[in-house]
Each structure stands twice: as C-alpha cells, then as structure tokens.
C-alpha cells in the first residue's frame, strides 16, 4: 500500500466508503421520510406486452448475476481449490452461467429501455431520476459484460486474484488500492459505474429491491389491524403509528 498515490487512495479507498455511507444512510433516510415513495412504481398498466418479456428476463438475469457476484467476489480462490474444484472447471462454470444470466439481463434491459422510450405513456411517466438510473445501471452492466468478455474470457486477467481480493478487503477495512489500479480498464470502469449506481440507489426506484416481500410466504392471507392501539397486539416489524 506504500506506493499508492493520493488519487488511487481517493478513488479506490475513500470513494467506496463514502458511497457505502450514502447507500446505508440514504436508505434509512428514505425509509423514515419517504416511505410513501418506496414502491416499484410499476408501469404495467400502461404497457404489458413488452414488459411481460423484458421485466422477467431482466430481473431473473440480474438476480442470477447478483448470486454470481456473491460467489465470485465472496468466496476466496483457496476455498474452491480446497474442495477440489479445478481452476478450469470453475472458470468454465462461471463464464457459461455468467454469460447466460448476462444475456438475459442485457436482453431484458434493452427491451425495457426500448419500451420506456417508444411507448408514449411509459415515456410520459419517466422521471429524470429514472433516466439517470437507467444510464448508470446500463453503464454498470455494460462495463461488467465488457470486462468479463475482454479481460476474463478472452484475456488472462484473473479477477479472483485482483478485484475480488480488493472487494473482500474492503469489508475488513484494509483495501489495497493497488489491486484496483492494476486491474484492466473495463473492470475499473465497471467498479466506478457501480459506485455511482450505489450512490444514487437510495434515491431512485431501485429501493424496491429492499422491499422484496418474502414475508408473504409465512404470513396469514388475511391481515387484520385495529385502529385502536389498545386493542391491537404489537407485531414484530410493524411500526407503531402515532395518531
């Protein structure tokens, strides 16, 4: 870490922590002051046909990619080697599954953006925030795909010894900026655009990701609530409202 320049430290150490702070505090702020705005803001009522192809493609793709990142960034190389998973196999698996998910995600995203632009009802309901979000989201995904193809699949960069290590060290508060400044250009751009995405995340419709209603699986179908505090039993996760 000794020969890292100030700029490197700023970009690969300071900036990520600033973004993390914005991400966490932003969500807390949004939840406290703008819970009413915490919605998917579905546009399906305007247009259904393209959405029914684009949205599931995109979402299943991006969820696949998310889990791919969890494995690729979170699990050290030594662990997969320890269970006897050979490097070539891991690589083959990552690239095929990853590319399939990426294809779904990118295809879906293109359909969604095309839909947003061409359907006048949907376009009419598109806010500047939506546009910025789409720009940064598309950049992040685009650079990610480019990085994987150019540097991992065709090139010889092993992100599991570079970017991944930087990422894990980030969470233990000892990131090595050199690992990032030595990374190929598309990986750098991917990370930078992802940082931008996380910084704007709490202030866009992307908050809907943190509303994923898994509680539906276990709660009873019919919900009763009392307007009288005295007769309503306190419930976990349901805030008491003062009125």
């Amino acid at each position: 870490m000794n020969n890292a320049t100030t700029l490197e430290i700023l970009v690969w150490v300071v900036l990520p922590y600033v973004v993390l702070t914005i991400f966490v505090l932003g969500h807390l702020w949004r939840f406290r002051y703008d819970r009413f705005g915490w919605t998917t803001r579905s546009s399906q009522i305007y247009e259904s046909k393209l959405l029914s192809i684009g949205s599931p493609l995109f979402h299943y793709g991006i969820i696949g990619i998310f889990f791919g990142h969890v494995v690729g960034l979170g699990i050290p190389k030594s662990w997969t080697e320890a269970i006897g998973l050979r490097e070539e196999w891991y690589h083959l698996m990552a690239v095929t599954i990853g590319l399939a998910a990426a294809a779904a995600c990118v295809g879906g995203l293109l359909i969604l953006i095309y839909r947003r632009r061409t359907n006048s009802r949907v376009f009419g309901a598109t806010t500047p925030g939506d546009k910025l979000m789409y720009l940064v989201l598309a950049a992040t995904i685009g650079f990610g795909v480019l990085a994987t193809i150019a540097h991992s699949a065709l090139g010889h960069y092993d992100y599991r010894e570079g970017v991944s290590v930087w990422f894990r060290d980030f969470w233990t508060f000892q990131p090595n900026p050199a690992l990032m400044s030595e990374a190929p250009i598309f990986f750098q751009l991917h990370i930078l655009s992802a940082l931008a995405l996380f910084a704007i995340w709490p202030f866009t419709r992307l908050v809907h990701v943190f509303a994923t209603p898994l509680g539906y699986l276990t709660r009873p179908y019919i919900v009763y609530r009392s307007k009288d505090e005295k007769t309503s039993a306190p419930r976990r996760g349901w805030e008491k409202i003062d009125y």
């Binding site: 259904s48 202030f203 539906y216 307007k227």
Partner: protein, 528 residues
C-alpha cells in the same frame, strides 16, 4: 365463536335511476387527484353490459377471487404465494389501461385564447397520460343505457348460456342499473394477494383499507380482486380502493355515495358475524350454496349467546344496539330479500343487493296486463326466464329459485300495498303466499319505500376511547389537499406520522421536492 362487527351496505336496485350522482360525488371526494383519473371507487353499470373495467366478471380470464382446490381447500385462483412471488416482475393478469379507458381532458385554453375568427373554436380531447390528442372511444360508462351493448352484447360474461335467448331490440330487452363499490369482503382476495401485507381489514368495523405507506406497488391485489375494485394509481405507484368513507363512518355519518343517492336506495348498518366460521362458509363445495352459507355467518344480534360472545370480543354496547337496529340485518336475515353480488367468487362480499323487479313489471305493463296484481306478477316471474336467469347469474351463482323467491316477495309487497293505497281491505293471503304476514309486509314496505335518514343509516360512531385518534384521521383526509391537484403525500387509510415527509419517487425534477428540506414557518419568513 369469534364475533366481529362488519359495516355493510344494501342497495335496492329497483330504485336506481342510473344518474351516476353517487359516482360523481365519490370521485369529487376521493379520486380527483392526478393518477386517479380513471379510478371510480363507485361506478354504475347498465346491465346487461360489460361493466367496468370491461368484462371484469370473466374470472376464467382475470382469475380473481378464490377457488376450491382438489383437496377441498380454498386457494387463490390466480395462484398461491410462491407462484405470486415468481410472477412479481410482470403480473400476467393485470388489466391494462385499455380495459378501463385512457383518461382525457379537453384543450379548454383553445376556447379561452381563441382570437376572433370565423369558425367556432373547438376544444379537442387530449390524453391525460401522454398529452397527445386522442379519439375517445371508450370510458367508464360507455355502454350506459344499453348504448353500445348491441354491438358488444356477447361480451357481457353474465350472458353466458342465455345469450341466444336475450333479444337486443329496444322493445324486447330488459335493463337495470348496478351501482358498485368495494364489497369490503369478509374473506378478501385483495388482502390475500398483497405480498407486502399492506391491505388489511379493520378489526372494529371490517372496512378493508390499503396502508399507503406499506404498499410497494406489486399490483397483485388489482388482479386478485374479482370485482376489480382495487385500482392502481399510476402516478404514485400504489393501490387505492373504496374506503367506505371511513372518516365519515367513524363520525356516524353515511358514505358519500349513500348520502347523495338520488334514489335513496342505499342502506348502511352493522352486522355481527362469526369470524371463525368464514373460511368454512367460503369453502362449501356447491357454488349455489354459498349464498346460504354466507347468510348463516351473520349472527342474530338478539341471541343471548351471541350478545355474550360479542361483549367478550370487546364490541361496545352501543354497537350491539346498532347491530340490532341494523337495516342490513333486516334485509338480509329477516326479510331475506337482499342477495350478495357474485357469491361464487368466495370472497364473502358485504355489499348486498335487492334484485330489481322492474324488468318483470315493465314487460307486464307493456303487454297491457295489471302490473300490480300479485297473480299476474307471479306468473310473469315464472315465464320471464331470461331476466330471472340473468339476475341469478349475478346474485346467486345461477340458482334461479332464490332469485324467484325474492322477486315473489317484491311482487307480493307491490300487490299488498296497492290494496292499502286504494283504501281496500289488505289481503293477508298475498303476504302468506310468500311466507310472510301482513304486518311484516308493511314493515318491509316502510323500510324499502319510506324509511327516513336515520332508519336507512344506522351507524354507531367510533367509540370514545379512540376519539382523539379519529380527529387526527379526519384531518388527514385527502380532500383538503386536492385543490392544486398535487400528489397526495398523505396516506389514505393510514394516518401519517406528524413529522416531515417527502415524496422523491414522484418528484418531477423541477424545483425542490416538497418536504425535502425543513419548511420555513410563517412566523419566521426566510431571510429573517
């Protein structure tokens, strides 16, 4: 037995003149904001007709409501929890704006700003969604008074099986109006379909509300409700529905639609029901038995056992008295003339209807017979199969005998009261023929024809313990803030916390979002 109270409504369809006053006053009170242009908490449909949204009753298409699974248990017709979560990204059964209509306005400024010219200036319609000019081709009541029904007759799902028998010629058809609001079901599929658990039934009065702060815009409730009485506010991205005017009800006042109804045909009151028995009642196998099953859920408010259970359940005394005086109880249980709309959806709806005798009376009168004579009317009910079968498709899952029984009663009341009005001796036999006696016949007539305000609306105010809450709730009613057509930041159905709030999602990118920064108070203007 778990006794719960339910605020319910009965509408006497014979008296509806289809004036849409209820729809308009409701809209003025609740849905005159942007994003809610197409939303009619109350709408009035001409039947036969397609209804609003178009063809909503075709559950093979929309898959709203419950159905019985192979194991005899209730399940959501559109699929259970896992399948709903897997389909969150795109709801396969969501009606699109075309199934309602594209809301529009007119370019009024062209009238106001027109220079002196030879041609009379026009105000062409333009879409409220896109701002582009549109050709208006459908709306919430486009097929009013059978207008357009001739062209669309095959699209009324309730005509299935009798379509070839119904004649769509003016002089041979029949027609009536069906005003509809949310049914405030005992077993609501809207609530069951909401992944976030944001739709709830109030345990005090059974009113079904959407917690606007809890709704995340998954839009599963819209397709889940078989009556299509949940609407998606396309500006806020949240579900909205009829509130049963709860701020008014809590003050002991009737809903806006009831208050303003020109025909005075709406009745409001409480019923007590056994909440533990709802699931079993909604699961009876035979669709045509659902009406009886639901009727049996409603408890006798004079039965000491019920009274005991009710006070154990914390239902206040004045509410029990109100349940005893309830016109709803009388119409559903005592006179048995009110019927539920589409019991076969198994949601146990709580807005019931007295089916109209008028299609029958009209035919009898047109053919020159005495339309006030009991025998003639009875015979006409027996012969006029088509209106009766159609009514049965609406109110009894096709069980014709039940509808006939109700219509006999209405016909008997007509004939019985005619004698009294003409000064003849009343004929007890007419009442007996439909299993009633003269005294109860007269009482029923009173309730249906001349009941005054406080007999039609028996609404116990919210109890005093929570009075301070109610005040707050009323103050939060959206009506106060609609003047500038701004988006509601208040929560409908859930009072909002007093602290500052903002709405980033609907910020249009111009200026500062409301409430983002601490407001300057009037006392200390900026710069001071």
């Amino acid at each position: 037995m778990r006794v719960m109270a339910q605020m319910s409504m009965v509408m006497n369809l014979d008296k509806c003149i289809g004036c849409h006053t209820c729809s308009v006053t409701c809209k003025q009170a609740w849905t005159n904001r942007s994003g809610t242009e197409y939303i009619w908490f109350n709408n009035v449909e001409t039947r036969p007709g397609q209804g609003y949204p178009r063809g909503y009753e075709d559950q093979e298409k929309w898959r709203g409501g419950w159905e019985l699974g192979a194991n005899g248990k209730l399940k959501l017709k559109a699929g259970g929890r896992v399948s709903k979560l897997l389909r969150l990204f795109s709801n396969p059964k969501l009606p699109s704006i075309e199934d309602y209509y594209e809301p529009w306005t007119y370019e009024y400024d062209r009238l106001l700003n027109s220079p002196a010219q030879e041609q009379i200036p026009t105000a062409p319609p333009k879409s409220l969604l896109t701002g582009e000019r549109v050709q208006i081709s459908w709306s919430g009541n486009w097929d009013d008074d059978l207008g357009g029904t001739y062209a669309h007759k095959d699209k009324d799902p309730m005509l299935k099986g009798i379509e070839d028998k119904v004649k769509f010629e003016f002089d041979q058809t029949f027609m009536f109006y069906l005003p509809r609001i949310c049914e405030h079901c005992l077993n609501p599929t809207c609530a069951a379909s909401c992944p976030s658990g944001a739709i709830y039934k109030r345990s005090e009065d059974g009113i079904v509300l959407v917690d606007q702060d809890g709704c995340r815009g998954w839009r599963m409730c819209v397709s889940g409700c078989p009556y299509k009485k949940i609407y998606f506010n396309h500006r806020t991205g949240k579900a909205e529905k009829c509130t049963f005017c709860y701020p008014r009800i809590e003050q002991g006042e009737p809903t806006v639609c009831s208050e303003t109804c020109v025909g005075r045909l709406r009745y409001l009151g409480l019923v007590l029901y056994d909440a533990d028995a709802v699931t079993a009642a909604a699961s009876v196998e035979d669709d045509t038995a659902l009406y009886e099953a639901q009727k049996d859920l409603i408890l006798d408010p004079f039965d000491p056992e019920v009274l005991d259970a009710a006070s154990r359940a914390g239902i206040p005394h004045d509410w029990i008295i109100a349940a005893q005086k309830s016109p709803i109880y009388k119409l559903i249980k005592e006179y048995e003339v009110a019927l539920p709309l589409h019991p076969e959806y198994r949601t146990m709806p709580m807005v019931w209807y007295i089916p109209p005798l008028s299609p029958v009376v009209d035919v009898v009168r047109d053919t020159g017979y005495d339309a006030e004579d009991a025998e003639t009317l009875f015979a006409a009910i027996d012969t006029l199969r088509i209106p009766v079968e159609y009514l049965a498709n609406l109110f009894t899952a096709g069980h014709v005998e039940t509808v006939e029984r109700v219509l006999y009663k209405m016909a008997a009341m007509r004939a019985y009261m005619r004698d009294i009005n003409l000064g003849n001796a009343p004929r007890e036999g007419i009442a007996n023929a439909v299993g009633m006696d003269g005294a109860s016949m007269e009482e029923m007539f009173r309730l249906l024809a001349i009941a005054k305000y406080d007999e039609r609306y028996v609404i116990p105010p919210g109890h005093r313990e929570s009075a301070h809450h109610l005040e707050g709730t009323v103050a939060e009613c959206p009506v106060g803030e609609v003047a500038n057509m701004s988006l509601p930041t208040e929560s409908m159905g859930m009072p909002r916390p007093a602290r500052g709030r903002t709405n980033l999602l609907n910020w249009d990118g111009h200026g500062r979002p409301d409430g983002l920064f601490p407001g300057r108070t009037a006392a200390s203007p900026g710069g001071a």
